[in-house]
């Protein structure tokens, strides 16, 4: 495999890893701060993809589809938290697992009723539909670079939000000691709602920007959910930094695995996870 090919696979790894990070970050935040495990997280990814399809046909513009789609997902996340998830923060993980598993079914069928079961494509917006030349013979799709850009921007935004703003400080305080934060005047309920909505929005947005590349099909959330879990287990629950590093690691192992060792490619990531678990049963980073 020559240098140009390695470079392309490297870029693919990073792109896949960053997309996984967007999903894993939401999952690990929601779990780290509210203690809720959400199996339906992959469903938000699927809903995002279908939203991208439905809205871009409706509105005629991919960009507007993303804006409107994200706004819708925030509203959806807030409603879901308020009506359902809020009651489950103190419940057993078992109950949460079952609740969210039931939701997977409901979301899949909801999608089926709204948009049917067909596979769809979403066109790459013309502005981003090109290739950047890397060498004389190979070039890299601009859209994938765009995807990476969006993920990086969001990662930076998340870092700034949590590390540098008052809201972020309140989030961290609430995660660390709920009663203390409440007695200091932090509105914990609002914080939880915001964090949940951010998680949902990240997952939906990931689905939206991935749609032109991965196409839109039923049950597309399931493999992504599994990968997300692997990333969170490797990275450490509640650690956004861990999620980033683990996601990039998983992206690398998976992408290069498929190219170099296709027969065992599907299993390599799990071997990685097994190795991490043997060494550090609580993941690479503590939250």
């Amino acid at each position: 495999m020559d240098l140009a090919n390695v470079l392309i696979q490297l870029l693919n790894s990073v792109q896949y890893g960053l997309l996984l990070f967007m999903l894993a970050a939401g999952l690990t935040l929601i779990f780290g701060i509210m203690g809720v495990v959400n199996l339906a997280h992959g469903s938000f990814y699927m809903l995002g993809a279908y939203l991208a399809y439905a809205l871009s046909s409706r509105l005629g513009s991919f960009a507007w589809a993303i804006v409107v789609g994200t706004a819708l997902s925030v509203v959806f996340g807030l409603a879901l938290e308020r009506l359902l998830f809020r009651r489950f923060y103190q419940r057993d993980h078992l109950d949460q697992v079952l609740l969210t598993f039931g939701l997977i079914y409901v979301f899949e069928e909801g999608r089926s009723l709204l948009w049917g079961d067909d596979v769809h494509g979403v066109a790459i917006p013309p502005l981003l539909d090109g290739s950047l030349p890397l060498t004389d013979t190979l070039s890299y799709p601009v859209y994938r670079l765009f995807m990476m850009g969006v993920c990086v921007a969001l990662a930076v935004g998340l870092y700034l939000l949590i590390g540098r703003t008052r809201l972020g400080m309140k989030i961290r305080a609430g995660a660390f000691n709920r009663e203390m934060a409440e007695s200091l005047g932090v509105n914990i309920r609002l914080i939880h709602a915001v964090v949940f909505a951010i998680g949902v929005a990240l997952a939906t947005l990931a689905g939206m920007i991935a749609a032109p590349v991965s196409s839109v099909y039923p049950n597309m959330g399931a493999p992504v959910l599994i990968m997300c879990f692997v990333v969170v287990v490797i990275g450490g629950i509640g650690s956004v930094r861990g999620a980033l590093i683990a996601a990039l690691l998983v992206g690398l192992v998976d992408t290069f695995g498929k190219v170099l060792l296709p027969q065992v490619a599907g299993m390599l990531v799990y071997v990685l996870m097994a190795a991490v678990l043997l060494w550090k049963p609580e993941g690479l980073f503590k939250s």
Binding site: H93, Y105, F229, V230, Q263, Y270, M273
Partner: protein, 335 residues
């Protein structure tokens, strides 16, 4: 994971009577039921064994595994590999071999995941089960996504398992045997230790119990018993595919155990039958003026699951318990 409040362990007399009646009903069913329904009940009994094996892990020890179906599927595949295309294989060595395969897989995977706690454990079990799924899904040599056929039921020598009624009674015998075995385990020193680990693992370690060893033993035993169910499934349907080890199968098992009520194995049986019944009910829903309700059975199933979790978290037995409202049904037997 926080320990749930009181589990129903010692079954009240009324429930024991109900179970005995159920056994009699199951024994008499082939005499009155149609062939189709007999097949259905056989399947329900197999799933009840599967659910009981998970109850040992989840209800008694408090370990929530999202990957229990891996061991169910492995045993089914073991039978598929051991049965030649043109002749049956003997029950008396394929069954132990399949159990060994499931047990060994449970031991290896258990060794890796039991060291994790709480939510990590749930996610890790799910991930490893997916690994097993992809192992079979991606490899044509192992049957690939199409799965494998089992052309003959195992040869039992003394009785003929190809006869559907004989197979029904064989399955019933397995169901009763596993139930009796697990009830004994529940009250054994091992079972008491598992219950203690569920309620307060920290204190168990402080008083000298090695919780890792106990949890791993429970995980392995549960996996082996899931293998029994998987073997029977393969034998009955004559077909295995990777879906048998999939995430949905594992989640269904959890549902069955929760639906019935955890920690006493009777609930697992009740839950398995009730769950399959609901599933058939939803799938057979007629179409209402253009809306094919049966096609969207997943929606009803999902709403049903959400409803159970919101309103009946202790399952059917828990509901019965509340309705009968008998005080002081507590855990732990004295003397």
């Amino acid at each position: 994971m926080s320990a749930p409040a009181t589990h129903l362990e010692a079954l009240p007399r009324s429930l024991q009577a109900l179970l005995a009646l159920g056994l009699i009903a199951l024994a008499l069913f082939p005499l009155v039921g149609s062939d189709f329904h007999q097949q259905m009940v056989t399947r329900m009994m197999i799933l009840a064994i599967f659910a009981m094996s998970l109850d040992l892990l989840q209800g008694v020890t408090g370990l929530v595994s999202l990957g229990h179906a891996a061991f169910f599927g492995i045993a089914g595949y073991a039978l598929a590999f051991l049965t030649p295309a043109d002749a049956p294989a003997s029950l008396w060595w394929t069954l132990p071999a399949a159990l060994l395969a499931s047990g060994a897989a449970a031991l290896v995977i258990g060794f890796l995941v039991v060291r994790t706690k709480g939510i990590y454990f749930i996610m890790a079990t799910m991930a490893f089960a997916q690994m097993v799924f992809y192992l079979f899904f991606d490899n044509r040599a192992l049957g690939g996504s199409d799965g494998l056929y089992i052309n003959f039921r195992p040869d039992a020598g003394l009785f003929d398992l190809e006869d559907k009624r004989v197979f029904y009674y064989f399955t019933l015998a397995c169901l009763a045997g596993v139930y009796a075995f697990l009830r004994r385990v529940l009250w054994s020193p091992f079972g008491r230790a598992l219950a203690g680990i569920r309620v307060n693992e920290h204190r168990m370690r402080a008083i000298g119990f090695g919780s890792f060893g106990h949890k791993l033993a429970a995980f392995t035993l549960a996996g082996t018993l899931a293998g029994l169910a998987g073997y029977l499934w393969g034998a009955q349907t004559g077909f295995v595919n990777p879906e048998l080890m999939g995430f949905h199968m594992s989640a269904h098992a959890i549902m069955m155990v929760i639906l019935g009520g955890m920690g006493n194995f009777a609930g697992a049986i009740v839950g398995a039958f009730a769950f399959e019944f609901m599933l058939e009910l939803f799938k057979d829903l007629p179409a209402f003026g253009g809306f094919d309700a049966g096609k969207h059975w997943q929606l009803w199933m999902g709403l049903f699951i959400v409803a159970v979790i919101c309103f009946a978290p202790r399952g059917l037995l828990g509901l019965l318990q509340r309705l009968a409202s008998r005080p002081g049904l507590r855990e732990g037997r004295d003397g």
